[in-house]
């Protein structure tokens, strides 16, 4: 589903964010990208959804070399990917329902699709009774659930999560992880960048560890160390 071949990403002239990274993530796998801040985890995610392009190497998604994709096709690539962030990136002037609906509306989905899909996905993340609330009326965990609902509402092939539990306490994090696990069970490939030991050690999934932009470990059913 996702394959990197000798990818190097340099910011500016000499800051090497990722150096010669290669890995292959099959469909419906759950992968952790771990490592300290600045080790290149976020950059890898940004390379996969083409917010960045590598200086060297190729990034393949769903059988296509996305670096050869013309800029006009990038939006269609992103419709196959859901993105979840540490800071949720919710629109504060919109309700929970509107935030999730927004993701469908701006890619031109008709109203009847929006009205069917949004309640369904809000039910999945356990917020069916809070559709009319605004983000600021929700707890951090609930806000992250909204953002996961928004990322998943279009049934993407891939979920990219960048420190999704970074702002949450351990109990809430557990809830978010079981939600991501549930999404993974539906066949969605999940790539999650994190430096949360507990989460990684509890899940026991594939771990790709980075240190200063270099992949130092790639282990099935790994722990954080």
């Amino acid at each position: 589903m996702i394959r990197l071949e000798n990818v190097t990403k340099i910011y500016g002239t000499e800051t090497v964010a990722v150096r010669d990274a290669s890995f292959d993530i099959p469909k419906s796998q759950f992968v952790f990208l771990v490592g300290p801040s600045g080790s290149g985890k976020s950059t890898l995610l940004r390379l996969i959804n083409r917010q960045e392009q590598p200086e060297r190497g190729d990034v393949w998604v769903a059988g296509r070399n996305i670096n050869e994709l013309p800029a006009s096709r990038v939006p269609y690539l992103r419709r196959n990917m859901g993105n979840v962030f540490q800071d949720y990136k919710l629109l504060l002037n919109k309700t929970v329902f509107e935030n999730v609906a927004f993701a469908l509306e701006v890619i031109g989905k008709p109203r009847h699709v929006v009205e069917r899909q949004v309640p369904m996905v809000l039910d999945l993340v356990g917020l069916a009774d809070k559709q009319e609330r605004f983000p600021e009326q929700l707890s951090g965990g609930e806000q992250q659930r909204v953002s996961i609902a928004r990322a998943f509402v279009n049934r993407p092939l891939i979920m990219l999560a960048d420190e999704p539990t970074g702002n949450l306490d351990p109990t809430t994090s557990e809830g978010i992880m079981s939600l991501l696990d549930e999404i993974n069970q539906t066949g969605t490939t999940v790539v999650m960048a994190t430096h949360d030991h507990r989460v990684v050690n509890a899940m026991r999934r594939r771990v790709i560890q980075l240190d200063r932009g270099v992949i130092v470990r790639d282990q099935e059913r790994g722990v954080y160390e």
């Binding site: 800029a71 269609y76 419709r79 990136k89 629109l91 509306e105 701006v106 031109g108």
Partner: protein, 301 residues
């Protein structure tokens, strides 16, 4: 499809209200600059009415009495052609009664009293003379000579009548055009800035839209519509201003005594209408250009 159009219009309107002060500044600036453009057009047209008989480097007009015989006309013609070193005989043009009357209708468009005294029968015919020489004294001495020819009613020299106006009109044209161009650029800049601010205010939304796969055009169009609307509104305001200006001018000129020539400075309404349409088009263009630059430049948030 309809939901997309609805989305674009809703967003445009919401953004319009959010940035009311900036929008007002952009609209007013484009209105003022367009008003100047329009005024330039009208002034130009007014002077053109005044100068219509002097078009094409004509410096001297020999008017022949309406009751002159054909022999007298031929005589004047041959006398004119007898000075090929001073007069450009190739450009020498004779306007018969019908042609002279057509021209008079234009000159006296705003002076129906004078026009009503003229008929295709009693109007003097005229020779339009383009001199070769640069020496105005030579032309003047020739004109004194022509005045004495049989059948000649009068000889008019551009120098005496409209040289000043022609110079003035060129000067005014340059000044107003430069000023309106500068203001148009300012208007584009202001619209650009308004759209940039609008995009900055909504950068989170734009970021989310890009991440979920909205196309660039989908994101851009509401902003471009907003700019277009601002330019168009400026055009509408300037049309109103121009109409008021022109009405005041027409009323003012109507107070002058007929036959003084001032009355020919009135601009016909059909011309005013086409100028207004041009202003609306320029306004829309200004808005589209300003917002297109901003929307393309600042989409990478």
């Amino acid at each position: 499809m309809f939901s997309r159009i609805g989305y674009a219009l809703r967003e445009t309107w919401a953004s319009f209200r959010r940035n009311l002060t900036l929008t007002a500044a952009a609209v007013l600036t484009s209105a003022v600059s367009l008003l100047l453009v329009g005024t330039t057009f009208l002034i130009q047209r007014a002077f053109e009415n005044l100068l219509v008989q002097w078009r094409g480097d004509v410096e001297m007009i020999v008017f022949v009495r309406s009751d002159a015989s054909a022999e007298q006309v031929t005589l004047v013609d041959s006398v004119l052609r007898a000075s090929p070193t001073i007069i450009d005989v190739d450009k020498l043009r004779y306007l018969n009664k019908a042609e002279s009357y057509e021209e008079a209708k234009r000159i006296f468009a705003g002076d129906p009293v004078t026009l009503s005294l003229l008929t295709p029968e009693n109007i003097p015919t005229q020779f339009k003379v383009v001199p070769i020489t640069d020496d105005p004294l030579l032309v003047r001495s020739l004109s004194d000579q022509y005045r004495t020819l049989p059948g000649v009613e009068a000889v008019a020299l551009a120098e005496d009548e409209f040289q000043v106006i022609s110079t003035l009109s060129n000067f005014i044209r340059v000044v107003t055009l430069v000023m309106s161009l500068v203001l148009l650029v300012v208007a584009i800049g202001l619209i650009w800035n308004t759209i940039r601010t609008a995009m900055f205010a909504r950068r989170r939304e734009i970021e989310v839209m890009k991440l979920v796969g909205a196309t660039n055009w989908f994101i851009r169009i509401p902003f471009m519509l907003e700019g277009l609307l601002q330019g168009l509104l400026g055009g509408v305001v300037s049309c109103g201003g121009l109409w008021i200006l022109n009405s005041a001018w027409t009323n003012g000129v109507a107070g002058f005594k007929p036959g003084t020539g001032i009355s020919s400075l009135i601009v016909p309404n059909s011309y005013l209408t086409s100028v207004m349409l041009i202003l609306l088009a320029i306004g829309a263009l200004v808005g589209a250009v300003g917002s297109a630059i901003a929307a393309t430049r600042f989409l990478d948030v």
